[in-house]
Symmetry: C2
């Protein structure tokens, strides 16, 4: 049977999905290119034996907790509860690592943070008047999830590489004035994908105060939080006195991506028509039961084993990787500085921000950095990156590049930056500077 594409759901041919497919496809076509494109965590500290060790540690933990052989077997074999079977261990980890208390009943274990987003959007967005505010540029997965569910989105562009809370407040007012209901804002406060920026403590407090005042939920997604050296500003959820924050978590960047386990902390309450109160997490689990039924018991078991090995202190588990990211970022910044000292940058009209950790940084150029430029960069210069416009739902970022340093060796960084600079120089053609560069001078967060 041949189906007509116009009869399929409108999201299927969405440019967001097209662009990400293009990225996968070009990566496949140029296997010898140095790639600043993928957001893969570094796997140099991982051994397949770790999986076995984690599974055995979880089994032993269950035995030590009084489980008999049949119960241990069931914990691996059976369907997990829709809300998850390692919620206590996740709550313990959040207490140990981030210093805040959350009831296990407020947690739903998910198939990565992506499913967490999907469940939250499906639950909270009921009509075309419900608006999701996106601090842009933003993670493509939240745009995609919104498209699949026909959720209305509106952008709050960063200014000079930063969220300005007053801009968010203006967006809330504008949406209300237009008869819509701003329901939630999606933010990545730590080493954001795609820009690499981090919210300082004052901005976090200001954001939460606005959320409380406006009855706006804040969807906090921080996959890269532990991908940099400490200390870190407190998580939004840790500062959340009025339960405005829904935290989306993942173990993909700390335990390992192949486990495919994330979670959502939703300690908000829902009041039904008869005045009864129920936890929002219950609703999310019910939605989950119709999307994926439950999260793999096996994936949960391996994450549990990893958490048990460090008493919930994921930063301890992740210390080696975080140091790898810190060095790769520092090396990338040093190489950029070496090839493009201030005078040369001004001539070319390029600049970049200076994240202290995480996977990403932003390179601003004086030329168009879309798919055609990427194709040229791959073919002629052997270097891959991601056009920043991929992360703008309504246009923008046309001269910016996202660089990811997470999976590169020191040698690849040196080689890759040299290729990148040659590409930038060849593409700039002596043109003049192109406006302010995002957070160039001061962002060392």
């Amino acid at each position: 049977m041949v189906l007509d594409s116009t009869t399929l759901h409108s999201s299927i041919e969405d440019p967001v999905l097209d662009r990400l497919s293009f990225l996968n496809e070009i990566t496949f076509r140029y296997p010898d290119a140095v790639s600043f494109a993928p957001g893969q965590p570094y796997d140099g500290f991982f051994e397949v034996e770790d999986v076995h060790a984690c599974l055995r540690r979880y089994a032993k933990y269950l035995e030590d907790s009084g489980a008999g052989p049949a119960q241990v077997r069931a914990a691996f074999h059976r369907y997990a509860p829709a809300a998850g079977q390692i919620r206590e261990l996740i709550a313990h980890s959040l207490r140990q690592e981030e210093g805040f208390e959350v009831a296990p009943e407020s947690i739903v274990v998910t198939v990565g943070a992506q499913e967490a987003m999907f469940l939250v959007l499906r639950t909270l967005f009921a009509t075309p008047e419900d608006v999701l505010l996106l601090v842009t540029p933003c993670y493509a997965g939240i745009i995609g999830a919104a498209r699949l569910l026909d959720v209305t989105v509106a952008a709050v562009p960063e200014r000079d590489g930063r969220l300005v809370v007053a801009d968010l407040e203006r967006a809330v007012r504008a949406q209300r004035a237009a008869g819509r209901r701003p329901r939630a804002v999606y933010v990545v406060p730590d080493h954001a994908n795609p820009t690499g920026s981090t919210l300082d403590l004052a901005t976090r407090v200001e954001l939460l105060e606005l959320a409380r005042r406006c009855g706006l939920l804040v969807l906090e997604d921080s996959p890269y939080r532990l991908s940099g050296p400490g200390p870190r500003p407190a998580m939004l959820k840790a500062l959340d006195g009025s339960r405005c924050v829904v935290q989306l978590g993942t173990f993909s960047k700390t335990v390992f991506p192949g486990a495919r386990v994330g979670y959502v902390v939703a300690d908000q309450e829902v009041r039904d028509g008869r005045g009864r109160i129920r936890p929002l997490a219950r609703d999310l689990a019910r939605v989950k039961s119709m999307v994926t039924v439950n999260t793999s018991s096996l994936g949960q078991a391996v994450v549990a084993g990893a958490l048990l090995g460090v008493d919930g202190r994921l930063s301890v588990l992740n210390a080696g990787a975080a140091e790898h990211y810190r060095r790769a970022m520092a090396a990338t910044l040093a190489e950029l500085e070496r090839w493009l000292p201030p005078g040369r940058r001004r001539e070319l009209g390029v600049g970049w921000n200076r994240p202290g950790g995480g996977f990403f940084l932003t390179l601003r150029t004086g030329f168009r950095t879309g798919t055609a430029a990427l194709e040229r960069s791959a073919r002629e210069f052997g270097v891959l990156w991601t056009p920043m416009e991929f992360f703008h739902p309504f246009g923008g970022g046309e001269r910016d590049i996202r660089l990811s340093i997470s999976s590169l060796t020191p040698g690849q960084v040196v080689e890759g930056v040299e290729r990148l600079v040659r590409f930038v120089e060849a593409s700039s053609g002596g043109r003049a500077a192109a406006g302010p560069v995002p957070g160039t001078e001061s962002d060392a967060s």
Copy 2:
């Protein structure tokens, strides 16, 4: 923050989800009851060590195929491709077990069959005029997925415990006459959940002929296919000469539920606005990338290891469990017959069908079998089951019960049927027969 339930998506308070929650909750409240409720596969043949053995077998397979240590590590550690990393092994298994050929590119690996359903519905259903036909009673998960995506559904009730293809054709015509587009029909051809019925070969052929004639897709979901003794009528997908069938698969009932791996076979083509052809599976994978990104590499690795251990012959892997189900079903039928011989059945107005395998059978009673009756059954008689009305999206099945025999020991069957009969006798109150019993006399499929 307290949210008003009326502002959430309408599916959240859907009766389907409410009923399934009730079932979980009552199971929790009556731990000593004999339960004919859960659709859990039997875990008596499973050992936690099997997980380790499967993972090692998959690693060795990769090594034997030429992968170096870094590639083996990547296969466990990294994000899998959105479409999956074990598609060749699944295609091989379908060839070995079911005798049909499918290109690996037509397969998408999913988080169980539930996600497969979800992806198919999101992709194929674009407007309120697109209608999903459900042979009812049907699996609650398909109703739930449709509700979450606001997909319009229409029921094609079974007659005398069977799908009548002429009824389906009438439903297609009626929908078209009403200006709607019947897009697909969802069927469980083997040992169906909830009724236990199996389509015979002639009905399968007739169904495919109708689908071809009407341009209707058939969503074939057969989780229980290998849960009975062979031989089996051919799968719809194996008979599918005109690519009308989208097959939804799962390894939950064969490998183990905790792996949480399923798949969809979608070898249909999509023609875009410029006349170019692409595989439907590509679109499903793109939708998946925005729902769960990819299916756990770890889950895929354990399933791969299990498939490799039997050269794809899942019926070999599942032989012990299938024999367990066959015996449990036979014992349940024998106990029912012993307590309720023909004369007594007529007096009480009860009857049941006689599946040759699988997890489920249907018990028809002369009284109302909703949640109040279930509560009474649990409290006063210590036996749990599922009201058949839970599986009817638009009412029906009010006097029927779904019995699941999959996770019961022989002793529990004997004790459980005795309790069930006492409950039925007490509830019948000498009332007369209540109409034809589904497939009572002849259904030994």
